[in-house]
């Protein structure tokens, strides 16, 4: 019997291993810090404790995922990779553009990229939404709340 057939909850196994990895990484990083004693914690004491605890919990989650039969175990399911990448890209594009090129350009970039993430792409809707959102956010954030945003590229000011 292959290993795959015996894993009852791939979700738990993956989550458990992730926790173990983070736990070990925490311990490794925290061992560099002064440990102190039980009476007087150094900066490293509590993180090491937590890292060990996380690794143990993660191991328990993973073992449970392999060994314990759960009838209605949820599969991990398909990853929504396209929305994930595009939404992250839209946010990052906004972050990189807002300072040099201003709110208008950053908003249009965000709307266009994120609109590619799901559903039917409609150019008309994207344009209308961009215009509406630029107007609305300028009204709320720049004119009402007075946040220090540039609306247009810095060169124009």
């Amino acid at each position: 019997m292959s290993l795959r057939a015996r894993i009852h909850s791939p979700q738990d196994v993956a989550a458990g291993l992730l926790f173990v990895a983070i736990g070990i990484a925490t311990v490794v990083a925290a061992l560099d810090y002064p440990m102190g004693t039980v009476r007087r914690f150094g900066p490293g004491y509590f993180p090491v404790l937590l890292g060990v605890l996380l690794a143990l919990l993660g191991a328990a989650v993973a073992i449970k995922g392999i060994a314990v039969r759960i009838e209605d175990a949820e599969p991990i399911g398909p990853w929504a990779l396209r929305p994930l990448i595009l939404i992250a890209a839209a946010v990052i594009a906004f972050a990189l553009l807002v300072r040099p090129l201003g709110l208008t350009v950053a908003t249009v970039a965000l709307v266009v990229i994120s609109s590619l993430a799901g559903g039917r792409f409609s150019l008309k809707r994207v344009i209308a939404l961009s215009v509406a959102l630029v107007a609305l956010s300028a009204a709320i954030f720049i004119f009402t709340l007075g946040l220090p945003f540039n609306l247009w590229p810095a060169l124009w000011n």
């Binding site: 925490t26 007087r40 929504a80």
Partner: protein
């Protein structure tokens, strides 16, 4: 009558025009997102959080609280009309409310849930006003060991109530504590887990984590699911809203019972409105004369949980304000917001910041009154909002999130970090790990460490200090009891997870 004098002080604060405005914005936004499925109260409070930093503290907190309990009202509207709960706490409203809508009684169902919500909230507000000060007085005697044990119970409760397995919930709580360690150590100033990035010296910014883990991850997840909403609701004419006298009569005692159950659950640290709605539904079903009515549109089964979740949404502020240990993820965010505003919740808040404490309580009442007014005549409007396509909704939300995070410090790196937490949050979502315990851990992390450190200093390194002090021991026993509550039935019947039955997928 000290309570009356205090309430007068509170109303003085809450009735100022600007405060009323922010309260109105809060409850309207809360109802709005409660109505829109797929965007939960945690995500919304998180998204609006950055904007509140530009407001004075009292108004900021009042607005955030308004979103929280406003969402409880709005969530039941979609639950009844579409069988789509806007929030986890209103999932129960589907069970009884949707059949009523199918029978053509959507109007009375909507009105009675609104009235039940108002009733539950009003009674609970009085409970908060009456019980928070004595509890704060009691908590003044707490030392480090008591606070450590209390926070431990709060974290365990959050893990127990999280959707999915207890072990994963506990792991997420521990991970949150670890994230809370990032930055300079409170007592030595030693930088930890900063990877040489100056950005991280002050710790992982809580707002960024909330926006990423809850807001962005949820948007990605929802797009992945595709737009499957089907508008069942037709217009609800005003005259159809009037409930029958019979509806009022059969609702009264369930509302009272729901309020009571909700109030008790709200006071427990770590337990939120979702759990209280389910608990009160279970109680109504058990004591009903005719249990067969349940599931087919029972008025008692609809109003009791509704009163309960609103009652919990109010009393959850008792532990949040007086002990500094939040009741659920949303109150955890509000607690985080207070800390950012320099308000440290704890036993001293009632005496040291009475205008905040009583102003908040008075604003709760005003906010609930606003909700009553917003909900009854405008139900048709809220229903129409459901037809906004998601393709318009999510770019808009995304933009407001980005602007909010960027405006914290005018720092593009913050926005990029939020995107990173969005990806992390999506991975956790796919692996069935709920982020709520992590959030609680992140906020409590430095406090847990500090109290543990001080306790062990006090006892010269002897961990028995947590067991020899009676209050601390009581908390720890409560924590063990909570774990047994999940573990014992799970051992007896391994395939069914009791927390799934509670359906506390708060988002």
């Amino acid at each position: 009558m000290e309570l009356i004098g205090n309430l007068a002080l509170g109303f003085g604060v809450a009735l100022s025009p600007m405060t009323l405005l922010y309260c109105l914005i809060g409850v309207t936004a809360g109802t709005l997102i409660g109505v829109l499925p797929g965007i939960g109260p945690i995500a919304t409070v998180g998204m609006l959080l950055p904007i509140t930093f530009h407001l004075p503290p009292v108004q900021a907190i009042i607005m955030l609280a308004g979103i929280y309990y406003g969402a409880m009202y709005g969530g039941s509207t979609t639950a009844i009309l579409l069988k789509l709960p806007g929030t986890a706490a209103s999932a129960v409203a589907c069970i009884e409310g949707y059949p009523m809508a199918q029978q053509g009684r959507a109007g009375p169902a909507l009105v009675m849930t609104t009235l039940a919500s108002f009733f539950g909230a009003c009674v609970a507000i009085i409970i908060v006003g009456a019980f928070a000060p004595p509890l704060a007085q009691f908590a003044l005697e707490f030392g480090s060991p008591e606070f450590f044990s209390l926070m431990l119970v709060g974290l365990i409760a959050a893990a127990v109530l999280a959707h999915g397995s207890l072990l994963k919930g506990l792991a997420m709580a521990v991970l949150g504590l670890i994230l809370g360690m990032v930055g300079q150590d409170v007592s030595t100033g030693f930088p930890r887990f900063t990877f040489g990035l100056g950005e991280l010296y002050e710790g992982v910014k809580f707002v960024i984590v909330v926006v990423g883990l809850f807001g962005l991850a949820e948007i990605v997840h929802n797009i992945g699911l595709g737009d499957k909403r089907e508008i069942y609701a037709k217009k609800v004419p005003l005259r159809e809203l009037i409930p029958l006298r019979r509806d009022l009569r059969v609702s009264f005692w369930p509302m009272v019972r729901g309020t009571g159950i909700g109030a008790v659950i709200g006071i427990l640290p770590g337990a939120g409105p979702a759990i209280s709605a389910f608990a009160s539904y279970a109680v109504e079903k058990r004591i009903a004369k005719d249990p067969s009515e349940f599931g087919k549109g029972s008025m008692a089964g609809l109003v009791a949980p509704e009163a309960a979740n609103n009652s919990t949404a109010q009393t959850a502020f008792i532990p949040t304000l007086t002990l500094g240990v939040p009741g659920d993820a949303t109150t955890a965010i509000i607690l985080g917001a207070m800390l950012i505003h320099g308000i440290v919740p704890g036993p001293k808040i009632v005496t040291e910041a009475p205008e905040l404490f009583w102003g908040l309580i008075a604003s709760f009442w005003i906010g609930n009154l606003m909700l009553l007014v917003l909900n009854l005549p405008f139900i048709g409007l809220w229903v129409r909002l459901l037809s906004i396509p998601y393709q318009i909704l999510f770019p808009s939300i995304l933009l407001f999130v980005c602007i909010g995070v960027f405006s914290l410090n005018n720092e593009p790196a913050d926005v990029i970090m939020a995107a990173a937490f969005g990806i992390i949050g999506y991975v956790f979502l796919k692996l069935g790990c709920e982020a709520a315990p992590l959030l609680l851990g992140l906020i409590l992390g430095p406090m847990v460490e500090e109290n543990l450190r001080r306790s062990l200093q006090l006892s010269r390194g002897d961990p028995m200090i947590f067991l020899t002090r009676p209050i601390s021991l009581t908390f720890l026993i409560a924590g063990v009891f909570l774990i047994l509550l999940v573990v014992v039935p799970a051992l007896r019947k391994p395939r069914k997870d009791p927390t799934i039955a509670a359906g506390s997928k708060e988002s």
